[in-house]
Amino acid sequence: MANRRQSVALGILLAPVTLFLGVFFLLPLGIIALFSVLTPGLYGGVEWAFYHWNYGRIFGWADGIIEIYEPIYLQILLRSLSFAALTVILTLILCYPVAFWVSRLSERWRLVFMFLITLPFFSSLIVRLYAWLLILKPSGLLNAALLALGIVDVPLEILYTPTAVVLGMVYVMVPFMFLPLYSAVDNLDRSQIEASLDLGANRVQTFVKVVLPQTLPGIMGGAVIVFIPSVGNFVVPDVLGGAKGLMIGNLVEQQFLSSRNWPFGSALSMIIMAVVLTVLLISVTRARKAGGHA
């Protein structure tokens, strides 16, 4: 009786979230999946006829013309993946030492720092990216400083380059990398570091054999949380990237808003999702393997 009453209660409690995700997540996802195999309408929208060359186009063969191979979309996809990977690596390098430093601060300063790291969330992303635009532009803050210090003679061309995009994404993603990393570092058992040193391992050995494996869950968590939104990011390249900084997210945006090719945009979205899921799956299984046999 009690069990049955409990499961009824659980069902009532879970109903709102199930309903919400069903209507606002699964249903749109189903629509996108369906659209991705339909014929593009002339003025946007779709025609209800099966059409599989939306995917063919992504891999380089547009509209069933096998003779012409142009893997431009594949290149943009690969570029997006490499930008995202670079963002993960750079945020990790930035955040890892800082996480250690913060975890050693006193309670009060730690709170101050946590407030500072979440401060960007209180302001608009677009505004913050336009601030970067002002910093990076040829007559901007960065170039003015470099010129004044005599480090360069000609203003650096950073804005509207891949560098600017990666820089912007690193800036946006730092808090997402920092928080899981910090939580892992903060939970690190310091006495295990001492035990390792005590048993004759030097600092490098201790880092590789004890600190790194212990903080691996935080690293993996941060990497996944940074990687996924980075792959599909379109705001940062929109503001800071030129033609060479175009990412797959921009492409999707274009297909829906300017090119009005909804099925192609849907197919691109499905590909992004497939790639992200694959990366996620690999990282989860590898992390489990590392945890199980190391």
């Binding site: 001492e194 390792s196 040193l197 048993l199 004759g200």
Partner: protein, 355 residues
């Protein structure tokens, strides 16, 4: 023969949150011989853990020297010291198997896998964990984890093993069993042990010598019997075991015995050697030093605590003064309110010169 470990005038102070300075080590001198079991004993904050951490290298000294086998230790980082530690929390590597935990010191020293595995098996056998190598620390009981920590710290055959209250997390029965096992293991290995505890019973059971510490200073160093029977001062007397302290004035000396009385008029007899009438001293008697009979200090039982084979009695002397704690055999009918006489052998009384 030169001692294995030689500590001279070790000093270390910390800044307290209030801005003052606290001397955790205040001029500590200590020698530890090879194959000796030395216990650092004292209340929390007495500096025993700081001393241990200074030996292992996790705490530096403000001044003083520390030599192991004649070689200066003070400048060496922890990983260069031929000293290993059993940590209070065990500090086992949760992401490694028991075998890899135990073999860690050999692994980082670059010992070949085959040799390593053989030694790991041997050490696991020694601590009673044969065949457990494949498990994770998380799958073990508290007592087993303790044994893994021990195995891990002895595999590299250190000259000196430091143990930081390693038994404090175990239940009473297991703790007593481990005490005996540690002692025999220490004998078998021929390694010097420095054992930190605040548990005086543990210290008495295991040690060759006990170092009693307070406020960063050593109060007394001696064998368990010396510390228990001949404490140097009130602190040591009160810290080690149950104690009755009697501030007395010597009445007269009769040959080998001296007669003394407290301010309230409780009369007792002490060893007469070196005593002079009128002198004020403190007489120390352990609860088990009294016999209940027809003669001796008259008193009344205020409380009787049943301990199994013994009774623990609180006796109020009729003359007044603090209650006397006495251990008596059970079954003799000493109920609360009973009138008793506490007799004692004068030779069992330990005398502190200061009153």
């Amino acid at each position: 023969m030169a001692p294995l470990l030689e500590i001279r005038e070790a000093r270390r102070s910390f800044v307290t949150p209030e801005g003052g300075r606290l001397a955790a080590l205040d001029g500590v001198n200590l020698d530890v011989g090879a194959n000796e079991f030395v216990t650092l004993l004292g209340p929390s904050g007495c500096g025993k853990t700081t001393l241990l951490r200074a030996i292992s290298g996790f705490e530096s000294l403000d001044s003083g020297t520390m030599r192991l086998d004649g070689a200066d230790l003070t400048a060496l980082p922890p990983f260069r010291r031929p000293v290993n530690t059993v940590f209070q929390s065990y500090a086992l590597f949760g992401h490694m198997s028991v075998a890899r935990n135990v073999g860690y010191a050999l692994e980082v020293a670059g010992v070949a896998r085959a040799t390593r595995e053989a030694q790991v098996a041997e050490v696991l056998e020694k601590v009673g964990l044969a065949g457990m190598g494949a498990r994770r620390p998380g799958q073990l009981s508290g007592g087993q984890r303790q044994r893994v920590a021990l195995a891990r710290s002895i595999i590299a055959k250190p000259r000196l093993l430091l143990l930081d209250e390693p038994l404090s997390a175990l239940d009473r029965n297991l703790r007593q069993q481990m005490q005996l096992e540690l002692k025999s293991l220490q004998h078998a290995l021929g390694i010097a042990f420095i054992f930190v505890t605040h548990d005086q019973e543990e210290a008495l059971t295991m040690s060759d010598r006990i170092v009693v510490m307070r406020s960063g200073q050593i109060e007394q160093i001696g064998t368990p019997r010396e510390i228990y029977r001949h404490p140097r001062n009130r602190f040591v007397a009160e810290f080690i075991g149950e104690t009755n302290l009697f501030p007395v004035t010597i009445d007269r000396v009769e040959g080998a015995e001296a007669l003394a009385r407290t301010a309230e008029g409780v009369e007792m007899r002490l060893p007469g050697k070196d005593r002079r009438p009128g002198e004020q001293v403190t007489a120390i008697l352990r609860p088990a030093d009294f016999t209940l009979g027809g003669a001796g200090i008259p008193g009344r039982v205020t409380r009787a605590v049943y301990l199994g084979s013994d009774l623990y009695l609180f006796v109020q002397p009729l003359a007044g003064g603090p209650e006397i704690r006495v251990i008596a055999r059970d079954g003799a009918g000493f109920d609360e309110g009973a009138a008793v006489h506490l007799a004692h052998d004068p030779a069992r009384v330990h005398v502190l010169e200061a009153a």
